[in-house]
């Protein structure tokens, strides 16, 4: 038994999650442990995120799943032409989720979900070589969603509900590559906006053509977070009318792109379950990060991003060892939405291979502990961001990047 677990942990340690851009795929320890699949898996209240259509199939009247992950991610960058190197020292991110469903009748379940599908936290060394693009960024969005799940027939259900999103962003960068005050302190700006709101929705459908096979489709709409009247704090600005940067407010807009998931799961026997998900994230919406400063003397900041829609291919499996232990493993390949020439160090993501694993321990019939981990391995990449300008001229910021992320997560499932 012991041996089996160790083996499971080592071998099944082939799973994943951490998506391109600022998508953070950590919306359930059970799903995550299986490569963040779940659009066609009926497991626990994580369905509130993965596919609300499935909530109605949960056996118990009340289902709850709550969890949190710790994101340890690091990026190293170097430019060998100039002998420069930098590493991020990013704070540990803690995305969480909380799902609840209540079976109103055999046909209808209601639910509530709160989760954090988007976010980014990157902190470079202050005044590093790319500081004119970013010193640090902390982006977070929390989604709150009310849900209803309706069983049309015994093998077909739909579900969905409205989403209220609340986000915040804090971003600091130097104004350019060389401006300083008289003492040589680099001129920089911090923009900060909190309580940024937006509305959206998600809806899914689940169909079971035969007992062992489920098919699911889920769509979550785009939500634009519009910051209005955020604070822009300029620091170390030379005392000169030639640099009229004063603290002001700004408007900006950041899309939380839509995501379509289709997938299936297959229950081989009492022990084994396999799941495949395909995600399409509609990153095309993220064309440019533009800061519109209220003070007319301060030039607006235009930062082309030109993200493109990207796909993620997910695979997961679950082994139910006995009444107490369930082991899971998974893998996904995550395509980066970032295009060549737009590789900005604020979200230095490229294609990644992701390995996940985890287990559930049923402490009682009603209560389980869900653990997962994710290791994201990004390919080393030599890229540039070409759209920073000085004196009307594009000045590429080039270098070789390598990122990695390790994300342990812990959650609980409660059902009665």
């Amino acid at each position: 038994m012991k041996r089996l677990f160790l083996l499971g942990l080592m071998i099944l340690a082939t799973a994943v999650t951490y998506a391109g851009g600022y998508r953070v795929s950590l919306q359930g320890q059970r799903g995550l442990a299986m490569g963040h699949t779940g659009v066609a898996v009926v497991n626990n209240a994580e369905l509130a995120f993965f596919n609300p259509a499935g909530l109605v199939y949960l056996e118990n009247k009340i289902n709850t799943a709550v969890g949190v992950s710790a994101v340890f991610s690091d990026v190293v960058w170097q430019n060998d032409e100039f002998g420069q190197m930098a590493r991020t020292d990013s704070p540990v991110g803690t995305p969480f989720y909380a799902y609840f469903s209540y079976k109103l009748s055999d046909k209808v379940s209601l639910g509530f979900a709160s989760y954090t599908p988007y976010g980014s936290s990157v902190e470079w060394e202050k005044d590093w070589a790319g500081s004119h693009l970013v010193n640090n960024i902390d982006l977070a969005a929390i989604y709150f969603q009310a849900l209803v799940s309706y069983k049309i027939t015994d093998n077909l259900s739909i579900g969905g509900g409205p989403i209220y999103a609340n986000g915040s962003v804090k971003f600091n960068r130097n104004l350019n590559r060389s401006l300083t005050d008289i003492d040589g302190n680099r001129s920089n700006v911090t923009v900060e906006a909190t309580g940024v709101n937006g509305f959206g929705w998600s809806a899914g459908i689940m169909y079971s053509p035969m007992d062992s096979l489920r098919i699911g489709v889920n769509y979550r709409s785009q939500i634009d977070l519009k910051a209005e009247g955020g604070d822009a704090d300029f620091q170390n600005i030379p005392n000169s009318p030639l640099t009229p940067f004063e603290d002001t407010t700004f408007d900006a807009e950041l899309p939380m792109p839509a995501e379509l998931t289709v997938g299936l799961s297959y229950q081989l026997n009492d022990q084994w379950l396999f799941a495949f998900d395909y995600n399409r994230t509609f990153w095309d919406a993220y064309e440019s990060l533009d800061l519109d400063f209220a003070n007319p003397n301060i030039p607006d900041s235009k930062n082309p991003r030109n993200y493109q829609d990207a796909s993620i291919y997910r695979f997961g499996m679950q082994y139910t060892a006995n009444d107490t232990f369930t082991l899971r493993a998974g893998y996904y390949f995550d395509e980066s939405p970032v295009q060549a020439g737009y590789f900005a160090p604020e979200t230095p993501r490229n294609d990644s291979n992701n390995f996940t694993g985890g287990l559930s321990i049923n402490v009682t019939d009603n209560f389980a502990i869900d653990a997962s981990f994710l290791y994201s391995r990004f390919k080393e990449i030599t890229e540039s961001y070409d759209y920073y300008q000085e004196n009307g001229q594009n000045v590429p910021f080039e270098g070789t990047y390598k990122s990695s992320a390790f994300v342990p997560g812990l959650g609980v499932t409660f059902k009665i």
């Binding site: 002998g83 060389s178 290791y375 070789t400």
Partner: protein, 518 residues
Amino acid sequence: MKRYYIYMAILALGFVSCEPELENSIEDEGFYSSGEADFSHYVALGNSLTAGYADGALYLTGQNNSYPNILAQKFALAQNTDEFTQPLVNDNIGGLLLGGQVVALPRYVLSVGANGPVPVRYNATPTTEITNRLTGPFSNMAVPGAKSYHLLADGYGNVQGVAAGLSNPYFARFATSDNTSVIADAMAQNPTFFTLWIGNNDVFTYATSGGTGKFQLNNTDVTTYGSNDITDPNAFAFIYSQIVEQLAANADGVLLNIPDITTVPYFTTIPNNALALDAPTAGNLTGFFQAVAGVMTKVLMQQGASAEQAQAIASQYAIQFNEGTNRFLLDVPVTQTNPLGFRQMTAEELLLLPIDQAALKQGYGSVVLTQDVMEVLAVLQAGGSPTQEQVQTLFGAVSGIDDEDVLDTEEIQNVQTATAAYNNAIKSIADNFNLGFVDVNALVAKLDSEGIPFDGGVLRSDFVTGGAYSLDGIHNTPRGAAVIANAIIEEINATYNAKLPKANIGNYPTVTLDQSGM
């Protein structure tokens, strides 16, 4: 049960501590290399250009961006090196105190005044007291103001001699003893690598003084020189060779030659034809100088010259002025052939940056047309004969530019002759000792002609806007220093088969903005 958690925790920690590593990290042994050179103890010798002096002062950020400091950072990527130390001043104000008295002024900053941005002295009191001797020696041994022969001079850093001008306030701050010399303090460090950029001041002080000193051609006794004199090229070659002989005995290095200073903003910013005239004023001035020539002819004839001789001499004063730009007038020594002692500037002659531009607008460099002068002109126009006094008024109205504000043709010639001779010496000494050689003269010429491109634009020699020169019009900005550093790196890579990365020029600042001086 517990055990599994422990295993997971260990596994988790294992991943957490696993930072991403690049396949070919620049931190890997052998990614960069020193080649045949050894940078373990690098010493830089030179003057203000090497010390990081800029904007008319030595201050911290200038020192931090000195080209030797930029170089040393790159050296440290190729091998283990001693820390590169510099005799840092106290502040970013610049300037020096000697016993509490200001003996060097604060830096220039760019301030916006009524007529746009102008360099002004930063409004603060220097805090760097030169009697506080720093504990050296320092890797950057550069001494602002030093000429070639000063590097060999014992006692050049004796603080007792500073007030009398016998020693150097900058070296006094960090000389290891009163009697030491720059070269002795450098050699005591047993450098494994050096750069030497010396000789600029052997000709620059002459140029920046407007050629008020003397070209000491064939006088090899440097102890007889004034501070604004040009060092004799033979003396220079001899001294330079002596310096290099010591440095190169146990070290490799790079020698930098002397740029032709006449192309830097100090000499090229104020145009010599900035006398802008409308048509009536041009006519008035032309009339004035015809009057001067006419009166002079009579004066000369009264002194016994023939009409022909008199006209020949006086006609040089009948200067023609046109609508638009006109070249200024220059005071020259009174001679038989130029008895009034002025002439119009030629196209090549150069005005110096510190010239009083307000005065130029008031007639300095042309004529101060006072009411008295106008009356004399009226007398002449009416066909009358001016009195002796009126003649003096007329001649006295001419206000030629003083020698210290201009580099005339002969002075330019002296500067260029000496620079070329020094550079010949430096090149042949570099060859003799098998050292690296950087042609800064060519770099500076390129800044002045097509400019030096970088990823954020083109560096040029234009004052304030060109990016290469600081607000004193002579010394580099940090961005200019990065250009020098890169030229040295290129030379080291070629001569010593090293592999060193360059500095990213666009990351280095240019001029500093501040309103404090207004």
